[in-house]
Amino acid sequence: MQHPPADTPRPWAAVYREVGIVPELPPLSHPNLGAFIHDACTRWARESKAKAAFTCVVPNGMNGSLGFAQVDELSDYFAAYLREVLGLHVGDRVAVQMPNGLSYPVVVFGILKAGCVLVNTNPLYTPAEMVHQYKDAGVKALVLIDMFADKLPSVLAMTTVKHVVLAGVPEFFPTIPKLIIRGVQKVWAQVLPPVTVPHTRLAAALAQGRAALQKAGGRVHAQNYWKAIQPHELALLQYTGGTTGVSKGAMISHSNLLHNVQQMLAMGGTHMEPGKECVLTALPIYHIFAFTANLLGFLAIGAQNILIPSPRPVQNLQRAVENYPITWMTGVNTLYNGLLNEEWFVAYPPRKLKASIAGGTSLHSAVAKRWREVTQTPIAEGYGLTETSPVVSFNPLHGEPRLGSIGIPAPGTDIRLVGEDGQDVSAGQAGEIYVRGPQVMQGYWHQPAETAEVLRDGWLATGDVAEMDEKGFMHIVDRKKDMILVSGFNVYPNEIEDVIAQMDAVLEVAVVGTPDEKTGEAVRAYVVHNPEHEGALQADAVIAHCRKFLAPYKVPKSIVIREELPKTAVGKVLRKNLKAEVKAEWQAQLKASLQH
């Protein structure tokens, strides 16, 4: 790779001026997230107009809330639990595997205050996926939602996890709704399995932490946990497949997250009134987008955060939208499209809504247009990666929306577009996006080779190919990496192929993405029957096999059985050809449907 110019041009500076975005980031107000969280909670407990810091709303409208002061206090106790009771040290990894709920901020803030490293994990992960992630990260403690406690025995046996804390969906709810929800979960829906391994319930953990803190001199002692933590130290290990598909932990520092929060607030600041906002968090916090934007970003401005444990079906959001004065939303195309198809939403869109952001996957222009019409508010598409904490670029909320663009880079970010030859492309040409900025990760955890592949001289190669116009607006043209985006979640063909190849009945497999109305893209597997194997190859059997080892969003939506797969002279499967077939098939379908 050629040595990049030290001073990279920023043609989007003019747009900043036009829409009122401050181009330079202020110096960090806090050296680490512990200090940031404590300060924000203290300030906003006094000043925020919000009715609560966090409110969790279940589909029937039952809800529970925590105030800023409460969250601060409870997270202090959890930090004390980790450091004093469990004896964890700064830098030890603690995994959190829960849907959105009141436990999430309490636990996460506690982990960050304790100086431990958070490992966000999808609660729908199968034991196999959990084992891979926890072993790789060397996780010592796990906070898990009680609904999936049955996965524990197989996982604990194979990893370094020594301590398990269980939390429930209605944690911190008022007594009667809590009892009713637990009753329904246990007796009616039967989703609370018996727990057979040693564990501590969150309430007990917090009580123990509180006692330990009191012995050590009261709550003020908690500040010692994060006092010495430097900005460059690790805050988060966020697992992703990157460009190659092998799941690895992006090392995100305190500085990365604090800067990205600043960048996000700089881009959206024109539509935010500190202390007066109410954000709807339907996206999962374990995904980097909602983690940085909703959990941290809106905490910084003292907003009320409405947490939705299960946004599917989208009808589950109805009570939350009806009962709370939502001013901001973050979402992915699937969510916005889903809401626009609900009669109750279109008839009564949230009256106080100011703006919405879309990320994770590209926002269809038809959906964006309809959203603007129905809500009479701007919706801005953004772009980012796990490896960039995540925000890289954003469409400004003011002015004419640029259809299909991922916007201009956030303040403090440098962008280069690099061609196949490793040189910067000439103006107007497409090239791979390289990012430099305070939000770029430190590297992949224990993967020096993989890190060296993408991170060089402070520049991160994203694997996405884009064009940039004269004003600095970018358009994604192609994806270098063989990745499928299912509702904003990264799915890597390699991983799926590895799982399917384990089947005796399968000789070869190739996985590609197909367009999907609902989720943007869907997973399709082309399989070849193994002639040595006795029985026939059934599509249902492949799906069932996948379900055992893969989280639901990774399971293929369609299976195609073939006699053989297209290959190169050397025998490497040509996914390109299969992708071209899919493209042709969809174009033919479109033509056929237009003719009717």
Binding site: N60, M62, I180, A347, Y348, A539, S558, I559, E585
Partner: protein
């Protein structure tokens, strides 16, 4: 017949049910339903067009004596029962439509029930000693509508209390029917043994034939299969306990006992028939969903989710 205490208890339970029904609604739900009034109108046509006529026809065809005829016609004129919502949910139907139809038919009942009752009892040539005064119907309904409004207001002010009320209301819906059966059946087992087959046919038929007619009318009026199944359940399931309350308010002694027979038997049997119909509807709904998934791409082997 029911004792004073049992009647009061029944009234109280009905109020709790209505409280729950109110708590499941917002004024927006009504406004949304009226944006597309067709669904509501189809529901009302089934509820107050088909059912009273069906009750009347069965009473005439089966040659019922006045006490039984009044009971059957009264049952036909009742608004939808709140248990229909539970069955709509389990049959994978359109719950919002079911709730709307039950609520609106209950509100409209204030005017519709006395009018239809007077019309059909007149047409059946039933004597004035069996007449149900409009004021009695109105009295019961107003008492029940007040809790509905309280429920709606509570839900708006405090979603936790509202949701709890909604849940208790739904349980009470089933409980009230069990209560009726437990208090009434043991005392009247002699009467039940002597009850002719035609009465059993009438109470079961009112439900089943009502469901069938409701389904076909809905399909005729271009409602899709899922909505039509919901409308079918909504049509066939009448508010039995409401009829019981009206009867205990209007009649006394052996007259009350005679007229009570059909509402109580109807309440018992409708739960049984609804359960079977719901299970069948559920299976059909699953099959339709699978067929829809498979129809999406023809050339490729699709795996249902």
């Amino acid at each position: 017949m029911l004792t004073e205490f049992e009647t009061q208890l029944l009234g109280l339970m009905m109020m709790v049910i209505m409280l729950g029904m109110g708590a499941s609604l917002t004024h927006r739900d009504f406004l949304i339903a009226f944006r597309k009034p067709k669904g509501v109108l189809v529901g009302l046509a089934c509820q107050y067009g088909i059912m009273p006529f069906l009750g009347f026809t069965l009473a005439m065809l089966l040659n019922f004596p006045p006490a039984l005829a009044v009971g059957l016609i009264l049952m036909g004129c009742m608004p939808g029962g709140t248990t229909s919502n539970i069955f709509a949910y389990f049959s994978k139907g359109v719950l919002a439509l079911s709730i709307m139809m039950t609520s609106i038919s209950t509100l409209v009942a204030l005017v519709a029930v006395p009018a239809l009752l007077a019309f059909y009892t007149g047409a059946a040539g039933i004597g004035s000693e069996f007449a149900v005064p409009a004021s009695n119907v109105a009295q019961v309904l107003v008492v029940l509508l007040v809790p509905t409004i309280i429920g709606m207001v509570t839900r708006k002010l405090n979603p936790n209390i509202g949701a709890t009320m909604e849940l208790i209301g739904s349980f009470m819906g089933i409980f009230v029917i069990l209560f009726l059966i437990v208090t009434w059946v043991p005392r009247n087992h002699m009467l039940l043994a002597a009850t002719p087959f035609s009465v059993y046919f009438a109470v079961i038929g009112l439900g089943l034939i009502g469901m069938a007619l409701g389904f076909w009318l809905a399909r005729l009026l271009r409602q899709d299969r899922s909505r039509s199944r919901t409308i079918a359940l909504e049509t066939g399931i009448q508010n039995g306990p409401l009829a019981v309350l009206i009867v205990t308010l209007t009649f006394t002694g052996t007259m009350q006992q005679d007229v009570l027979l059909i509402p109580v038997l109807y309440s018992l049997f409708i739960v049984i028939t609804s359960t079977f119909v719901t299970l069948a509807f559920r299976r059909i709904a699953d099959r339709e969903a699978l067929a829809r998934d498979q129809a999406k791409t023809g050339s490729v082997l699709q795996a249902g989710r």
